[in-house]
């Protein structure tokens, strides 16, 4: 598996798209840092971008990479290599290269501006952690979808649909639900709802770190209590892990049944 990982990783890390992706983060973060001396504001702006881009780009790269590397995959399949190793290795290579793009692209400017000497070091690390986790989750989901669908167009469409559901539609429904049932106490319900969606969970983790909880009055207190507690943090990290593990297991399961 490690060798497959290595090939996928180096194949991707040399690709033009990876440079563009990392370059975008680099320029964006650098630009923000030069415009604003306040690190915490740059962390917030970067958060907005990371929460949208990481899942979206991971989704698109995931599908594209799967379909573009089918030849390589077929070659590997006839070799004495375990099937699960091939696909897990490719997925890990993909997710790692995406994460490296993020870490390098967004990380270097922050390091240049001395984030570790500031009080934003913790928030910065939480931001990168969430970006990496989201990259893994959405790379896994899209890789899984591509593996299940031989038809490129269909696979691409489905993957984007899933992204759209989690990134936009989910929040729309949540908002509808909240305003629909606004006469009931909704703190717990909204907490559960946002913990279940990885994008929302990452966003809320970051928002609370950046101390926006104050804006959320009662709800904020509930969230803060939950995410501030050891158990709450453990649950959140567990949810993110589950979101990563389930599609990864899906990849392993589906790849064992597919014909090539």
């Amino acid at each position: 598996m490690f060798k497959i990982f290595k090939y996928s990783f180096f194949d991707l890390i040399r690709s033009r798209w990876t440079y563009i992706y990392a370059g975008f983060y680099f320029l964006f973060t650098l630009g923000m840092l030069m415009l604003s001396s306040d690190l915490s504001k740059v962390v917030i702006s970067s958060m907005n971008v990371v929460l949208i881009l990481c899942p979206l780009i991971a989704t698109m790269f995931g599908v594209m990479y799967y379909y573009n590397s089918r030849e390589f995959t077929e070659l590997l399949l006839s070799q004495p290599i375990k099937r699960t190793s091939i696909f897990t290795g490719q997925f890990l290579g993909l997710a790692t290269s995406l994460s490296v793009s993020l870490l390098v692209g967004a990380g270097i400017p922050f390091l240049m501006f001395g984030v570790f000497g500031s009080d934003q070091a913790g928030n910065f690390l939480v931001l990168l952690f969430n970006g990496v986790v989201l990259s893994f989750i959405f790379a896994a989901i899209s890789f899984f979808i591509a593996l299940k669908n031989e038809d490129k167009i269909k696979g691409f469409g489905l993957a984007i649909l899933v992204w759209l559901l989690l990134a936009v539609v989910y929040d729309g429904l949540l908002l509808l639900g909240l305003s629909w049932f606004r006469d009931y106490p909704l703190e717990k319900a909204s907490l559960i709802a946002s913990v279940l969606n990885p994008i929302d969970l990452s966003r809320v983790m970051l928002l609370l770190k950046l101390d926006i909880s104050a804006l959320m009055s009662l709800t904020g207190a509930v969230y803060r209590k939950f995410l501030g507690s050891g158990v709450g943090m453990a649950i959140s990290v567990a949810v993110l892990l589950i979101w990563t593990i389930i599609p990864t297991l899906g990849i392993r399961r589906v790849c064992l049944r597919r014909d090539f």
Partner: protein
């Protein structure tokens, strides 16, 4: 008003010259403050030299000047009030007053003044003095240069640093008040000036007006309090050049206005407060040339606000610039600078050609469904705000700045 206080101050300063001085020190024949006060004649000065005096319930009923030399310490050993003054004239300077002791049943004070018409409390230090300075039915007092600290944790068993009840013509200046319940509490206090104070880390309000009229506070700094300043049931209050910052927490405000009328809020700075100004049933306020930066909400208007003017302010990078609960009032929002204004100025007159709607849809959503705040900074909300901006449907029609400025106004507040 200011002149009166000046004259009073001159008079106080003149008195000691006509009197005798009585010295108190730990090794002197007169070795307690209480003894010194008992021995002193009216108009005398009691000079207390440095040392620690474990005394409390010292009552003063004659015209006296108390001077501490080398910051003598008066320690109440948590057993009760320290100075209780009930007299027309009183002057105290240079004492350190500590350990009054907290109480749930009585409002013990470090220095209590009743029915005085000429008094000065100057350059004293208070530590854990419960109600450090407690003024009742008094007027023409100067409270200046005092440093009052406590380490209060809950409202119920903590006191206010400077507490005034039914007073007038007070001047409260250059004090530092930290860690109390309210930094400065004024109830039925009229015609008074509060300036150049620093009020910080108080668990309720930095400065609190109740039923107080015709007062003015300026050049103060309110940092990291439960709420910076609360002005309630009052009118004709002038608020100028104050800094409200870091009043950050679930129920925190820079400035809380409730049932206040005909007041001016000019040249203040509101920075990083959960809510810069929260106002409720407040009428005819002029809010002008203030700077609101990086607050959760810059201005949050609850119900029943009428005929207020919000103009020529700078709104810089607040999460929400404005939240107006109910529409249909005749509040005016004009000629402000909004950092999120995306319009243009083709005729180059410094005024944007497109009106600005400072209330975003999400702000409207959150005011009706507070839980929706969990969606802050989500892609869905960004899309929602954008579509509302393109074609407004939900946000109140009359919350609009017809003449938004293209560049920020110069800042007037104290830096």
């Amino acid at each position: 008003m200011k002149n009166n206080i000046l004259i009073a101050a001159l008079l106080f300063a003149a008195f000691p010259l006509l009197s005798n001085t009585l010295v108190v020190c730990p090794d002197c024949p007169v070795n307690t403050i209480a003894k010194g006060i008992a021995l002193a004649n009216p108009c005398d000065t009691v000079l207390v030299q440095s040392g620690t005096y474990y005394e409390n319930n010292i009552e003063i009923n004659k015209d006296l000047t108390l001077i501490g030399e080398g910051m003598p310490v008066v320690d109440g050993k948590e057993q009760g009030e320290i100075f209780t003054v009930e007299n027309k004239y009183f002057y105290i300077e240079g004492f350190r007053i500590q350990n009054v002791g907290r109480s749930y049943v009585e409002d013990r004070a470090g220095i209590r003044i009743r029915k005085s018409t000429q008094f000065t409390i100057r350059n004293n230090e208070f530590d854990e003095a419960f109600f450090a300075i407690y003024l009742q039915n008094s007027s023409k007092g100067l409270i200046e240069g005092n440093h009052i600290s406590a380490h209060s944790l809950e409202e119920a068993n903590s006191g206010n640093a400077i507490h005034a009840w039914y007073c007038s013509y007070l001047e409260i200046a250059n004090n530092v008040v930290k860690g109390n319940r309210d930094g400065i509490y004024l109830e039925f206090v009229d015609n008074s000036l509060i300036h150049n104070n620093l009020s910080q880390d108080n668990i309720r309000y930095g400065l609190h007006f109740m039923f107080s009229d015709d007062d003015s506070y300026y050049d103060n700094e309110f940092v990291d309090n439960g709420a910076g300043v609360a002005v309630m049931y009052s009118k004709n209050i002038v608020m100028q050049r104050n800094v409200f910052r870091d009043n950050w927490g679930a129920a925190s405000y820079g400035l809380l206005l409730k049932d206040i009328f005909d007041s001016e809020i000019f040249h203040n700075r509101f920075n990083q407060n959960t809510v810069g100004i929260f106002m409720e049933t407040s009428n005819r306020l002029k809010i002008q040339q203030n700077e609101f930066s990086e607050n959760g909400w810059a201005v949050k208007m609850s119900g029943g606000n009428q005929t207020n003017i919000l103009s020529k302010n700078n709104f810089l990078h607040n999460t929400f610039n404005l939240s107006v609960h109910s529409a249909g009032t005749d509040n005016v929002f004009s000629s402000n600078y909004w950092s999120d204004y995306a319009g243009y100025d083709l005729d180059k007159d410094g005024v944007g050609d497109v009106p600005h709607r400072p209330m975003k849809l999400f702000s409207y959503v959150v005011s009706s469904t507070p839980e929706a705040m969990v969606l802050l900074r989500s892609l869905f909300i960004d899309l929602l705000n954008f579509s509302e901006k393109v074609s407004p449907i939900f946000t109140p029609e009359n919350v609009i700045d017809e003449t938004p400025l293209m560049t920020p106004l110069p800042v007037f507040g104290k830096v």
